[in-house]
Subunit: 202 residues, 2 copies
Amino acid sequence: MQTNNTTEQQIIAAARKIFVQKGLAGARMQDIADEAGINKAMLHYYYRSKDKLFEIVFDEAVSQLLAGVNDIFEKDMPAREKIVAAVEHYITSLNKAPYLPLFVVHEISQNPERILQKFSNTALLPNMRMFLKELAVEMENGTMRKVDPWQLMVSLISMCVFPFVGRPLLQAIFQVNDKAFAKTMEDRKKFITDFVLTSLKP
Amino acid sequence: MQTNNTTEQQIIAAARKIFVQKGLAGARMQDIADEAGINKAMLHYYYRSKDKLFEIVFDEAVSQLLAGVNDIFEKDMPAREKIVAAVEHYITSLNKAPYLPLFVVHEISQNPERILQKFSNTALLPNMRMFLKELAVEMENGTMRKVDPWQLMVSLISMCVFPFVGRPLLQAIFQVNDKAFAKTMEDRKKFITDFVLTSLKP
DNA sequence: GTCTATAGGGTGATAGAC
DNA sequence: GTCTATCACCCTATAGAC
């Protein structure tokens, strides 16, 4: 409770940067120590092992990635407005942490049990399920064109998230620089909502 | 020219499996040797170093991922039919190699120069650029609703590729098993084309 | 061409002085 | 709490016998 939690936070910040950048297998404890400007032994003093440290960073990343989404679908809004809000929220959020999705997805693929058990034991994203039902009701009422709600949901996530995951590849293919890419993602909010809502017109 | 190229091919096949599964940093030469059922020293005898071996596997993966796409956009077809053909081709192709996109995207993010120079020195996907212009022409003529062709292109790629990249995450969130996922991807072909073409109606 | 043995350098983790 | 020194192991790569 004196000044020590500063060091702990410095370590976490450094670990976050290195792990997200290089992944669990590619990261070195020395890299993290250098980034934090401290000694390698301190990492073990505070966090015992590389795996323990990684787990903290990873869990935090998953939370950050899902944070807010559930809240949006919980609100009392028409389905169309939830779509607009979700796209706005997601792209804004990802523009601030563009490397998170690839990090999380890669580490899950390396160790699927890690997340599967984390999700299967929880009341998982119930609001998202509710949202799928709201879509189904609108389609039944004829206020929205009938499509598979699950496929629609996956498409929304895909259109928002993939450009960040595939960013280096997209920039290479279309020869877009960093500045243009960032601007394009801002424009993309309007594109996605218009594109999707137009397709869903009854 | 006797029976030796068999060993080389065995090595490549093993390296492909291990590298795609674990990535460059996570893969061990011993893993590859075990997978190929040969000795670790043989890997160096045939391919000098881990990096050389990796580069072969990686280049092959990039080619496989882009193969066919250019051809489709080259054909003499209306833009709408090219969209249908591209979605059909991409999802079929990815269903056969579902882990390729994540592998390639992750390794590019670890070493962006690797692919950037590969692309910048080539006449790159000129047919895709041509396709963007075809879309622009149709929109100008009023036979297609006006949207940003680049954003449309990125959306098509996103909707096709992302489900494979985010597969473990999607399955965890929506609690879908492997069998259901595979079927869903087949259904997705029709969903995407209908969804996109509906949105593009003038 | 294929194997065993080993060099040479890194890596996570700990011991122990301060 | 923080550092230096070091252990024990792992990994790539090569040397050398067959």
